[in-house]
Symmetry: C2
Subunit: 734 residues, 2 copies
């Protein structure tokens, strides 16, 4: 349990209330006192544990200060902003949505690259040199910056001399998102993909074998019968075409078209396609999901276990820095030290919140806590606790006799009852029905006024029965939302009737009301936590969009509805004459710029319609097959696996132990609070669960993780190189 640069502590001198701690400057004084440097170091450990950062920083005071700066939220936002700008350059580069001259985009890109370089240099200053070059992430970023520069120079030179040039380095840009220090969750998602790959590959080979065999059978069964497709082409005569068609059938995109010629010829041939769909669409796709889900669960558990071990290890280090030993007893940390530490880690924490956390940690009021209780701190800080000041309603102060009268009390009780909420949910639903009805009828138009009055009444009633400052506090998102929506609607309707405006403003009004219906979304509120796992999508989409744009840009043109160009009938490409693609007016589904590329890729995710492979060489179909494999077979299945797992956690796992002990404590304390402030309408604390995806993950597997078991930590030595080479390099650089 020794520490990198821990100083000596004697418990006698540690002050009891945390106020008497002397700052001893930057000198790394030895002796019995804890220096500012010690607290900084401990705070960094706790903060790293809290946010699951695994950076092996230098422990010299200078390096720690640099490291604190590196972790400053401002710099983190700046990095993301520069990456966003870098990625957004695709909008302005050829093929562009909004064309800009090359020199403008190049300058912007250079600025971005400079920023990434600066960040990388900063990181290199924080961690030891040899560790910096051992980390593949740093090498990756370095390579991306270098390759981008090389590509820019080559591209500029080629363009200047009039040659055809490709900005190939653009596919590397989204990889920055994966490799920056903050991209932990994204890396985890990619790791779970990589871990599932061997098994997916095995099933995929079986699957492809099945597709190839069925194609062979199809060739033998249908090839010589002279059947024609609906477009008049020969049906199932070329082996590779059959393979592609049957592969697309797995995505169900060309069902039942691909089967119709054979089915029209003989009803028995339907058996072939039914068997094919049963085996390849249903069984194989389910097995893909099973493989991905199985691997996902297995490796995620392992990663979370490592995460928790690393977290504990950091907390033990922080404890080591701050511990005091009284004689033969177990080392402890005093409340004063603890307070100082928490204020350093989370400067904006309120005193009440901090005291609550202390009372949870120091359950027996001993004034100091041992290692086990101290280690909880990182998790405790991750539980979102909203402290509310319970103030009396202003009306109670101004008109106490009226506000405390029994009719007034009845109103307050009614509004605070759950039925009030449900009543208004119902009113919103009825409103939705009226919006759907024919609005030409003046009666129905007037009903809108009635609804508006009802909504206004709701807000006023709530303001009457709840304390207004609490009602409009920072965390009451839906209250703000409701109020803004209703006031906007009120203003819009008044303007509308005052100016006798025509239909358009009515329409805006309707949309405002429909937005209000979003309020009902709160029932599925925790879907947002799933967001973290969807992250691989943008990275993969961006890469495919870049490649797709180089392959297909300008091959298909979109004509406005009022265009009379004769090329409109075949999307400006004679190869598409009479194709289903052109007939269905899909011309806007093209790779002509980044926006339409993204929309097209989303369409391809849903249904792999790839009509326009006709415009280029047949091998471009590989692009669509590859996209299907990567996005539908792998990433969507990981997404589904996460939904399944999160759902099971929601339904089967109880609250975390820590969260329930915190809630218990709050209830205990509240009991006391309530006696003094009888009309506090909001419970003093809200606990909407863990703040972070990491927290959710930890909760998922908490049942398997023994919170008291420190034996693991003993054999976890971050300086041991074997721990640096996890099969899944979860720790950024520990």
């Amino acid at each position: 349990m020794s520490e990198p640069d821990k100083k000596e502590i004697t418990p006698e001198e540690a002050p009891e209330n945390g106020k008497g701690i002397r700052n001893s400057g930057n000198t790394s004084e030895t002796g019995n006192r804890k220096t500012k440097g010690d607290f900084d170091l401990a705070a960094v450990y706790v903060s790293d544990a809290q946010y699951n950062r695994n950076i092996f920083f230098d422990t010299t005071p200078q390096a720690i200060r640099l490291y604190l700066l590196y972790n400053h939220w401002g710099f983190q936002i700046l990095v993301y902003a520069f990456i966003l700008v870098d990625l957004a350059l695709a909008i302005f580069e050829d093929p562009a949505v909004v064309p800009l001259p090359i020199w403008v985009t190049s300058v912007i890109e250079l600025v971005c690259l400079a920023a990434f370089t600066a960040r990388l240099v900063h990181y290199a200053k924080v961690i030891p040199r040899e560790r910096f070059w051992k980390d593949p992430k740093n090498i990756c970023i370095f390579a991306i910056i270098l390759l981008s520069l090389v590509d820019m120079i080559i591209y500029g030179a080629l363009k200047a001399s009039g040659f055809y040039a490709v900005r190939w380095s653009r596919v590397l840009r989204p990889l920055l998102l994966v490799n920056i220090t903050e991209g932990r969750q994204l890396r985890r998602a990619f790791r779970s993909i990589r871990n599932a790959l061997p098994q997916i590959l095995y099933v995929f080979l079986l699957f492809m074998f099945s597709v190839l065999m069925f194609s062979l059978m199809a060739l033998k069964l249908f090839g010589k019968r002279g059947l024609k497709t609906i477009e008049g082409r020969p049906y199932f005569t070329n082996y590779l075409e059959i393979v592609f068609d049957l592969y697309v059938l797995v995505t169900t995109a060309n069902s039942p078209d691909i089967m119709m010629p054979a089915y029209n010829f003989s009803v028995y041939f339907a058996v072939f396609f039914i068997t094919y769909i049963l085996i390849n669409t249903y069984i194989f796709m389910s097995v893909f999901l099973a493989v991905v889900y199985n691997n996902y669960k297995k490796y995620l558990k392992e990663e979370v276990r490592k995460l928790v071990r690393a977290k504990r290890h950091k907390m033990v280090r922080a404890f080591g820095v701050l511990q005091e030993r009284k004689g033969e007893e177990e080392p402890v940390v005093s409340q004063a030290c603890w307070n100082q530490l928490v204020r350093l880690v989370q400067p904006d924490i309120s005193n009440a919140h901090r005291e609550l956390l202390w009372s949870v940690s120091d359950d027996n009021n001993k004034g100091c806590i041992g290692k086990v209780a101290f280690v909880q701190l990182a998790d405790l800080l991750n539980i979102q606790v909203i402290m509310m000041k319970s103030r009396p309603h202003p009306l109670k102060t101004w008109l106490p006799s009226l506000y405390l009268s029994s009719p007034s009390r009845l109103v307050c009780r009614m509004v605070q009852h759950k039925a009030f909420m449900y009543t208004y949910d119902l009113i919103i639903l009825v409103n939705a029905v009226f919006i759907g009805l024919d609005e030409e009828d003046p009666l129905i138009a007037n009903v809108e006024w009635a609804f508006l009055v009802l909504y206004l009444l709701e807000i006023l009633l709530k303001l009457y029965s709840f304390e207004p400052r609490a009602f409009f506090s920072r965390h009451q998102f839906w209250n703000w939302f409701d109020t803004i929506i209703v006031i906007t609607a009120l203003i819009a309707m008044i303007i509308n009737s005052a100016l006798k405006l025509c239909y358009t403003s009515r329409q805006i009004l309707d949309i405002v009301f429909i937005l209000r219906i979003l309020r009902l979304i709160r029932v599925v509120d925790n879907i947002k936590r799933l967001g973290g796992q969807g992250l691989p999508f943008p990275v993969v989409y961006y890469i495919f969009a870049m490649v797709g744009m180089e392959l297909f840009k300008g091959k298909i043109r979109f004509f406005e509805a009022n265009s009379t160009d004769p090329d409109k009938a075949f999307c400006g490409n004679a190869l598409l004459k009479n194709s289903v693609f052109a007939k269905h007016n899909y011309c806007k589904n093209n790779f002509n710029n980044i926006v339409s590329s993204f929309i097209l890729l989303l369409e391809l995710t849903v249904v792999n319609q790839c009509g326009f492979t006709a415009v280029t060489h047949i091998s471009a179909r590989m692009f669509f097959v590859l996209f299907h494999i990567v996005v539908v077979i792998i990433i969507i299945n990981i997404f589904i696996a996460f939904v399944l797992e999160a759902f099971f956690v929601e339904y089967t796992v109880d609250q975390s132990n820590l969260q329930s002990s915190l809630e218990k404590k709050i209830e205990e304390l509240e009991l006391g609070v309530k006696q003094y402030v009888p009309d506090s309408f909001l419970s003093a604390c809200f606990l909407p669960g863990y703040k972070t995806v990491d927290g959710l993950l930890q909760r998922m597997f908490e049942a398997d993780l023994d919170p008291e078991n420190f034996a693991d930590d003993e054999d976890f030595d971050p300086n041991n190189p074997s721990n640096l080479n996890f099969p899944n390099p979860n720790f950024d650089s520990v």
Copy 2:
């Protein structure tokens, strides 16, 4: 050893080797001796436990004999045959594939109904009267028979007087499959659907709410813009149409068509559709899967637990009938009794197999077994053990010097090596490639001969190195398969070259070879066990086919390719003029007979294309929505859930304890056997896992079931009515 009709045993008299048992006739003598009635009763209990039958039969000797008859495999096959005939009547009834006069189908149906009635009466004789009428299954069958009769009379009368009539009772026919005593697995599948319903309903309401809200937004966003669909109809102007279109978008069937008009108008509208697809297709569909999977796991575990409890209870009863008590000791069953019992339960069991099972049960060679070991019997009998007689190769007897020479031994070792199998797998793959190549080339045609010779060589080599009777034993399916395929191919090729036949017979030959490729399927051999869970499909499909046929029969006509009828352009229905349905030549996708109905429903499962709702009232769309809800949202998800669970079991759960102890025992015994028969080429026993789906299910949850815990059984009283009303009536009539 002893004979099937053995009578009294006194433990003292029971000889150690089971040969001296005296027969004492059919008297139901009491006392220390066990009568034939006792053995019959015990055998029925064991057999019920083995096959998880839960029928509360009378225990009088007459009832037991009737019950044994009821369970006779001949009667069970007859019942299935009659149900199959009854279901197949749909082929001959109007709208018919092969029309038969009404009187013919009616007579056949009457015969079937008579058979079902006879079976029901037989069942009523076996179990107590009051239990018979308490069982909803019996009432169900009774009602189905009665309603079918009523329907036949009404239909006949209406037809005779020239009115329009509907054979509505046909939708009830598949319910027979669910309600017969043997339909346990099907009932379990339906129960798991029913159990998931409340949660599915909740998610479904949220989902429909989301669809309705998005439709409302779509109406407001697009309704007044005067957009047109590709077919020229107004785009998104009618609320109900929008709801339907957006519902279909969830199935991805009309993507991207439904989005194109809005997307062509403005690129920003794509955001609406992307949000919609993300929420409703991906998130909601994943949540449906999660809900179904979660419920599936939960209730299946509960059911398997009950199944195991009931099985143990029956085995304890059988033990109670046969037990002997020596003084103060625990009651036991002697080997002689046990042998007699096993022979009664499984008359075709070999002596070696029975002795193996005994040696597993009586691990310490005490000559008798206690309750715990006895209860295992039902599971032991369910483990498939194939006993092989190890005979010397005939060539060894005829030409020992040649067969035992070292080159001959080398050949045998080579053929028995795994590499031999892989080599031939590779040869089959190469053959597949050659089949895919252009067969006009005479060289390639001749290559076929080479492959045929290789395959013949393989079979001859195997016959040389393996004992021929063992090679062609009953359980060696793939050996039979290979041999038949190769010999068929040989005969076909000889005839082909002798008669100089043209292409057609070559094609047959190719198909024969492709069939051979099926041999490679053995890698995914255990997929067949999934069959049990797919069973709900036929029942649901049949019901939907019946309803669909009444709704849509004759509305769409299919014209042969060479037809010149002008109606061909719109499938014989003017309402389909210029529709996408007719343009794509989907006319054969209709409900005109049971075969095309089934194929169409399968297509609807894959992609819910419902183009021909145009031919009838718009409310017929409900049929398609309902089909999607029932089949895609519920049944397919249950299927996927089963695949997921079975996959996890395959990869994570080890063999059952019983199975491994059996295998250990076999290894012990084999060691002795091998010394005497050194050239036995097949291991004496194969253990291809559990025979039944029930066995697989039990293995899935074995970890949670304590095999030694009999406490459960004590409080499980089959005579207690509360045990008769399980929330899931898993026990047929216990």
